[in-house]
Amino acid sequence: MQLRPILSTLRHHKLTSILLTLQVAFTCAIVCNVVFMVAKRVERASVATGIVENELSVIHSSGIEKNENKQARNQADLAALRAIPGVTSVAAVSYSLPLNHNSSSRGVCPDQASLQRAMQQRSADGTSCMTPSIYDGTPGLIDTLGLHLVAGRRFQPDDYVVGMGHTPAVAIISSALARRLYPNQSALGKDMYLGHSVIRVVGIVETLLRPSLRDPGTEGDSMLWPQLPDLSGVTYLLRSAPGDRRRVLEAAEAALLKVSASRLIDPRRVQTYTQIRHDYFQRDTTMIGLLVASASGLLFVTALGIAGLANFWVQQRWRSIGIRRAVGATRGDILRYFQGENFLIVGAGIVLGGVLAVLLNLLLMAHYELPRLPLWYLPIGAAVLWVLGQLSVLSPARRAARVPPVAAMRSA
C-alpha cells in the first residue's frame, strides 16, 4: 500500500480529518465505558439468591385487630394455605426475603475478644465481627425456599423461640458468612457472640442472598434463626409449580380472607418472587437498556459520519481519481487507497480514544463509584471501530473504484 499519497491528501484536508479523528476518539472513549457499565450492571442483576425463585409466591397480610393471638392466626393461615391444590410447601416470615429490601441485621462476632473490642469502639470496623441479615420464619422455611443445606442439620421443634424479642440458641448460616466469620476452619458447631447472647451454628446453607445489596462483598452474609414471626404483619411463602403461581396467589388471598376478614391485604404485596426480583433490579435493567441504546446510537452516528464524509471526498476527487486511473492505477489501488485512508483516520482516533477512555473512566470512578476499566476493553473497542470504519467506507470506496479513467478528461 502506498502511504505517501494518502498522507499528503490528508494534510490537504487537515481540519476535516482531525474532526473525524476526534469523533472516532470520543465514540471509542464513551462506548468502552458504556459497555463496561453494562457488563457491571448485568453482573449485578444476575446474582444468585440461592432460593427456588420461579416456584415461589409471596403474600403479605397485616392484622388490624389489636389483641390478636398472632401464633394462632399464623397456624390457622398456614393450614389454609397448605390446603390449596398445587401448593407443595408453605412457611411464614416476619418481613425479610432475599432482595425485598426489608432487612433486619445484628452484629455477630466469632469470639468473645472481638465482641469486647467492637463494643468498646461502638462499631464492628476493624474487628472480625460482621453484620449479617437475619431471616426468621416458621418450620419448613428451608424446604419452602428450596435452600441447599451443605452441612449440619435443619432446625428441630424445640429450637424455636417466639417473636423478635427472643434470641434463639442455634442458627443456620450461609456458607459465605461461614467463610468470612471463621476463615480456614469449619464453622459448624462454633459459637457466635452477639450482645449478651451466644448462638451455636448448627447448619450451613450454600447460598442465601441478603434483602438488600448495599455493601459490596457482604451480599451473601445471612443467617436463618428459628424464630417464629409474631408481628401484626406477616409474609407467607407458597411453593408450587411455576405455572401455578398466578392461580395459587388468587386462591391464597381468598383463603386468608376466609380464615379471618380482619386483615388488610395490599394487592401490591401479592406477587410472585420473580416480580420481587424484577422490581429490585428494575433500575439496573432500565439503565442497561439506555446504555445499550446510546452506545448503538453513537456507533450508528459515527458510521454514518464516516460514510457521509467518504462520499464527499469521492465526489470531490472524482477528477484526480480519473487521472490516477488514466496513468495506470487499478481499481484495487483506488479501493485500497480509500480503505487505507479510513484505516489511518480511525487508527489515530482509536489511539486518542484509548487515552480518553481511561480518563473518562477515572472521572466516573471519582463521581459514580465505577470500578477501574479493565484494559482489555480497549483493544476490543479498537477492533470494533476499525471494522465499523471499514464497513462504512466500503460503499463510497467501491464507487470511487468505478470511476472511469476518462473522468480525467472532463472538468470537475
Binding site: F26, I30, Q282, L290, G297, W313
Partner: protein
C-alpha cells in the same frame, strides 16, 4: 437578503437530501436525548413552593456525642431534632412562624358500610404548619397553638380521604377513627403535595408521597403513635421514648421574612447550642448549628438519583459526538462549494455575506433538527413516565422546556456551523476561479 439566503440554503440542502437527512437526524437524536434528561432534572430540582420558598428555612443543630460513629450508608442522625430541642425552638418563637413535624402511617377505620379499613400516610405537626406553607383549605381550617399545648384530639384530612370516609368533603365536626383513637375533624384541605415533599424526612419517595392527614404532634407524643422516617438514637437506654433527648425524629421549619431575621435566627441557633453545651447536654462545637434555606436544603439532600445524573451526562456526551460529526460534514460540504463561493466573492460579495449565508444554512438544519428533537424528547419522556420510580410521573415538558429545546438545537447547529462557515468565507476569490 436573509430571505435570499434561506432560499439558497434550502436549495443547497435539497441537493444532498441524504447528507441533510443525516445531519438533521444526528442533531435531532442528540438534542432529543439531552432534553429528555434536562427536563427530568429540571422537574426534580424545581421549586416545590414557588412564592413562599424564599422565606422558608430549616434549622439544624448537632446534639450528637463526640464518639458517635456515623453509619456509612445510613441517614445522618443530626438531620432531625430531638423532642426537647424542637420544643425549645417552638416555644422560643424567634421566627415569624415555626412548626415541628414528623411523618406517620395510621390505620383509618371508616364508619361507612362497605368501606374496608385502609392505611393513610400523614404528618404530625404544629399549628403554624398550615399558614407557613400556605396549605389551601376547602372547609374549616387548621388548629390553634392552644390545641397543640392541650394535646387536643383534632385532625385535618385531605379532600380525597374525607370523600372516601364521609361521601362528602364538607364533614367538619365529624369524628374520624385513626389507629386506636377518635379525633374531631376541624379542616379539609385540597389534595396538596409539594413536589418534592421537601419537609419530609429523606426516605426516598418525596416525589410521589403526599400527606393525607394532619394531627397535632403533641397528640402523637402523648399517644405514642407510629412514626415513619428516620429515628436515630445514641442513648444508653434502648427503649428510647419520643420525649428522649437522645433520639432525633422531628423535622423543623421556620418562616423568616428579612435578611436581618435570618442572621438573628442563625445566631440564636449557635447561642442555643452553646447554652446546651454549657449545660453538658451537647458535646460538639456550637458552630455546627446550621440554617438551610429551602432550596439549599434540597441541594444538601441531593434527591436526584446518581443514575439520573449519569443518564444526563450520557445524553450530553451523545450530543457532543453528534455535534463533532456535524461540524465535519458541514466543513466538507461548504468547502466543496469553494467554486461557488469564489464566483460570489468575485461578483462583490463580502466575507461577511458568505459567512451569513452559511450561518443561515446551519440554522436551517438546526430548526429541522430541533423539531425532530422535540419529537424524540417527547418519546423519551413518555418512556420515563413508564418507569416505576417515584419521580417518573413528573416527567412532563413545560413551555419553557419546549422553547429551550428548539433554542438549544438552533444554537448547537449554528455553533457547529461556525467553524465551517468561517473557513468558507476565507476562500480567496481568484484562485478558485482559475481551477474551474
Amino acid at each position: 437578503m436573509v430571505g435570499y439566503y434561506i432560499h439558497m440554503a434550502a436549495r443547497s440542502l435539497r441537493r444532498n437530501p441524504v447528507l441533510t437527512g443525516l445531519m438533521v437526524l444526528a442533531i435531532g437524536l442528540g438534542i432529543g436525548a439531552s432534553m429528555t434528561m434536562v427536563t427530568v432534572l429540571h422537574v426534580m430540582t424545581d421549586d416545590p413552593l414557588p412564592g413562599r420558598s424564599a422565606q422558608l428555612y430549616t434549622p439544624h443543630i448537632d446534639p450528637l456525642p463526640l464518639d458517635y460513629k456515623q453509619d456509612g450508608g445510613g441517614p445522618d442522625a443530626s438531620d432531625n431534632l430531638t423532642w426537647p430541642d424542637a420544643m425549645a425552638l417552638l416555644t422560643a418563637r424567634r421566627a415569624t412562624r415555626q412548626a415541628a413535624m414528623a411523618g406517620g402511617n395510621l390505620l383509618l377505620r371508616p364508619d361507612r358500610a362497605g368501606v374496608r379499613p385502609f392505611y393513610v400516610a400523614g404528618r404530625y405537626t404544629s399549628a403554624d404548619f398550615f399558614t407557613m406553607f400556605g396549605v389551601p383549605f376547602v372547609h374549616g381550617g387548621g388548629w390553634s397553638a392552644a390545641d397543640d399545648a392541650a394535646g387536643a384530639q383534632v385532625v385535618v384530612l385531605t379532600e380525597t380521604v374525607a370523600r372516601k370516609l364521609f361521601g362528602t368533603a364538607d364533614a367538619v365536626g365529624r369524628t374520624v377513627r385513626l389507629g386506636e383513637h377518635d379525633y374531631r375533624l376541624v379542616g379539609v384541605t385540597t389534595d396538596w403535595a409539594p413536589k418534592p415533599l421537601f419537609y419530609a424526612d429523606n426516605v426516598g419517595n418525596q416525589y410521589s408521597d403526599a400527606d393525607q392527614f394532619f394531627l397535632p404532634f403533641s397528640v402523637a407524643v402523648n399517644q405514642d403513635l407510629q412514626v415513619s422516617g428516620n429515628q436515630s438514637g445514641w442513648g444508653k437506654d434502648e427503649s428510647a421514648s419520643k420525649r428522649s433527648d437522645t433520639t432525633t425524629w422531628l423535622q423543623f421549619w421556620v418562616q423568616l421574612d428579612t435578611p436581618a431575621q435570618v442572621a438573628a435566627y442563625r445566631q440564636y441557633l449557635v447561642d442555643y447550642s452553646a447554652q446546651q453545651k454549657g449545660l453538658g447536654r451537647f458535646q460538639r462545637p456550637p458552630a455546627n448549628a446550621k440554617l438551610y434555606s429551602l432550596m439549599g436544603w434540597l441541594a444538601h439532600e441531593n434527591l436526584v438519583p446518581t443514575d439520573v445524573r449519569l443518564q444526563l451526562w450520557l445524553a450530553l456526551g451523545f450530543l457532543f459526538v453528534c455535534m463533532v460529526n456535524i461540524v465535519a460534514l458541514l466543513l466538507a460540504k461548504f468547502l466543496r462549494r469553494s467554486g461557488e463561493i469564489s464566483v460570489r466573492r468575485a461578483l462583490g460579495a463580502r466575507r461577511r455575506d458568505i459567512f451569513v449565508q452559511f450561518g443561515v444554512e446551519s440554522a436551517l438544519i438546526g430548526v429541522a433538527g430541533g423539531a425532530l428533537g422535540l419529537a424524540v424528547a417527547q418519546l423519551g419522556l413518555w418512556s420515563i413516565r413508564q418507569r416505576p420510580d417515584d419521580y417518573a410521573r413528573l416527567a412532563q415538558m413545560d413551555a419553557s422546556m419546549l422553547l429551550g429545546t428548539l433554542m438549544l438545537a438552533v444554537l448547537a447547529s449554528m455553533l457547529a456551523g461556525l467553524l465551517p462557515a468561517w473557513r468558507a468565507c476565507r476562500v480567496p476569490p481568484a484562485l478558485q476561479l482559475k481551477a474551474m
